[in-house]
Symmetry: C2
């Protein structure tokens, strides 16, 4: 048998669910995980425990695989480029990954491609943030002295690397507040605070052959910078705007030579424009609904793409699918909540990641599907809240 060996770097829930999707494919799935207690390490045969930032660890792991792919975008690119020289197959490749790893590189490239983005530039220090705010406000280059510390308009600051789930992102309104992001010693990107009406995500998968599939555009509801609920497809999204968003994501995937799953997080504005917020080149929280909700899940299609197999049908199986994240709350024992949730809703799909419960930490998600959106939302919402302990009945 020549079933290939796929190595995934990173032991989080994305790797866990990718392994799950790999079982039917009959592939040999290997994992490089920080600790033996990581979400994916709990369910995979012989996980390799080690630090992905250590070149020798990464190399030893990669040399045993036919292809390597990623649960996150934190692997040093210089290591990946060195491994590529040795003939390791890396999907997505480091040149594509750079756009998911570094927000400055991503913004520069997308802007060069004419992709709609918030106004942005790399800023040097808090005074430069003030100048950027003034530029956005189309006012003077320096804030008027009478404003004291206030920026002309609020600005979003992001460290170009290392952020996730709202970490590494600040909304600042004063020069004083603008100091914090520079303390990490990572370049800081300033962005216009887009007055969006909601967030969308256009998820696509692309193979080395250049075949690509687009999932329905979803609505992603964030709370404090953390994804809370995803609705597939996005309700009341005009068909043409949905097609435009899918075409945009497919174009980005092709231009950046992405292989695997690409999530394009989008802002939808009141005047009907769609701007790119973030990119992720791996299975993504906005695609978890697809596990039960689509003919082929993002996890299965990510694997098919990195193996250069023909991609599977991304179409939804139900009129509406809603996923709600389960965050850690006050109850450390979420298993107990299964009794209520499963008895109340025999069609509910519960997915827990094997992670220790900590307040605010993503420890699982629930998915419901059906033909009545309000009902489907309520089912997912109720289960997520009950498991977290926010409600008790």
């Amino acid at each position: 048998m020549t079933f290939p060996v796929v190595g995934m770097v990173g032991g989080g829930q994305l790797a866990r669910m990718t392994h799950e999707a790999g079982i039917p494919l009959g592939i040999d799935f290997r994992l490089l995980s920080d600790t033996p207690r990581d979400s994916a390490a709990l369910v995979v045969r012989d996980p390799v425990i080690g630090d992905y930032r250590d070149f020798d660890t990464l190399r030893d792991f990669a040399l045993g695989c036919d292809v390597i792919t990623f649960d996150h975008e934190h692997v040093p690119l210089e290591h990946l480029r060195a491994l590529r020289e040795e003939g390791v197959v890396i999907r997505p490749g480091p040149d594509a990954l750079e756009h998911a790893r570094d927000k400055g590189v991503m913004r520069a490239r997308l802007s060069a491609l004419g992709v709609p983005c918030p106004r942005h530039r790399i800023v040097a220090d808090p005074a430069d943030v003030a100048r950027f705010a003034a530029e956005v406000a189309e006012g003077p280059n320096e804030p008027a002295a009478g404003d004291g510390d206030a920026l002309a308009v609020p600005v979003v600051l992001k460290t170009v690397r290392g952020g996730y789930d709202g970490k590494g992102v600040w909304v600042v309104r004063t020069v004083g507040e603008a100091a914090e992001p520079f303390r990490a010693g990572v370049p800081v990107l300033a962005e216009e605070k887009v007055p969006f009406v909601r967030e969308l995500a256009a998820n696509v998968v692309r193979s080395p052959h250049g075949q690509a599939v687009a999932y329905p555009v979803v609505e992603s509801i964030q709370i404090d910078g953390v994804c809370d609920t995803v609705i597939a497809p996005a309700p009341d999204l005009p068909g043409e705007r949905a097609l435009d968003a899918q075409a945009l994501a497919l174009r980005i995937a092709a231009e950046l030579d992405v292989v695997g799953h690409l999530a394009v997080e989008l802002f939808e504005t009141a005047d009907g424009r769609v701007l790119v917020n973030e990119l992720a080149m791996r299975p993504h929280n906005s695609g978890h609904w697809s596990r039960e909700g689509a003919v082929t899940s993002q996890f299965a299609n990510h694997l098919r793409a990195v193996l250069d197999l023909p991609l599977g049908d991304p179409r939804p199986r139900a009129p509406w699918t809603v996923m709600a994240n389960v965050l850690g709350g006050d109850y450390p024992d979420m298993y107990q909540g299964y009794l209520h949730c499963m008895a109340r809703d025999p069609g509910l799909c519960v997915s827990m990641y094997g992670k220790e419960v900590k307040p605010g930490r993503k420890v699982g998600h629930v998915t419901a599907y059906g033909s009545d959106l309000a009902e489907v939302r309520e089912r997912a919402r109720h289960a997520a809240d009950y498991l977290r302990g926010t409600i008790t009945e």
Copy 2:
């Protein structure tokens, strides 16, 4: 977290797919497998490699689990009864399992319950088989001398234990042919050869609470005693007959105190009767369609049952779902066939078990679903034949 530890004895594809279904549940799934190359052992963290027939091996494994369950019915019952005395939770329990392990016990119990079965009895030797054949034929107690070696009617002989996939089953027409089954030294059950028009399976899942769910009755097409194709639901099955079959399976599950998945294999006769052929108390080949075809799969519901969690919705997600087994053929490399099958049919669900290809061995299955039965059957058939190498385009 108090997520439970579920131990499964046996490392075949049923355990593999049960582990897959356990990943979203967040449980700790442990495996006792004969070899590290067994289908499930390839995809599970830290499989225990050992002989389930060895009491100490089984005991060490079981004592680390909150509940143990099974991939097959070959575990010695005296060992399970001893472990039960020690407080090990065993689901299904040994008293139920005995009916899946021993066909003589099963026939006696079902007959006592008034469940329709083929005529049957334990036979002592080939001459006794001849007497049984004569009884079935309602002829003389001994075959007429002029018939020589021939039985009055063909008879099905089964060793009461250890058979699977047509092994341990013989259809005999002469006294000479009847000698073979006795050579194993296991009691032999003789059964009337039922003139059935097709085989059905009624699959149900029951929890310790007594909650139970019934999957749609399926048609199971066997070739040489091996399941080839399963169609869910069984086409052209009158609604009342389907309900009767489900009710029969639910009754058997309750009477035998089955916990977990119970497959009741049935013969449907030309005059519209339904007779029980075999029982299996574990996920079953006739339920593989449910992985993609039902709201809750047999694997997920088996786990929910052995954990005494509320059971999931067994209803089908599509009008028709067809599963076809992929048997080993002349091509050892089935992965190569993915290119054709996935490109031809993006909605196809391929499931390979990681097993070495040997002629006739079940090494995987494919599932297709949709609204046109003929088309769905053709899709599954084509993929199974292509992967096996029976067809090349």
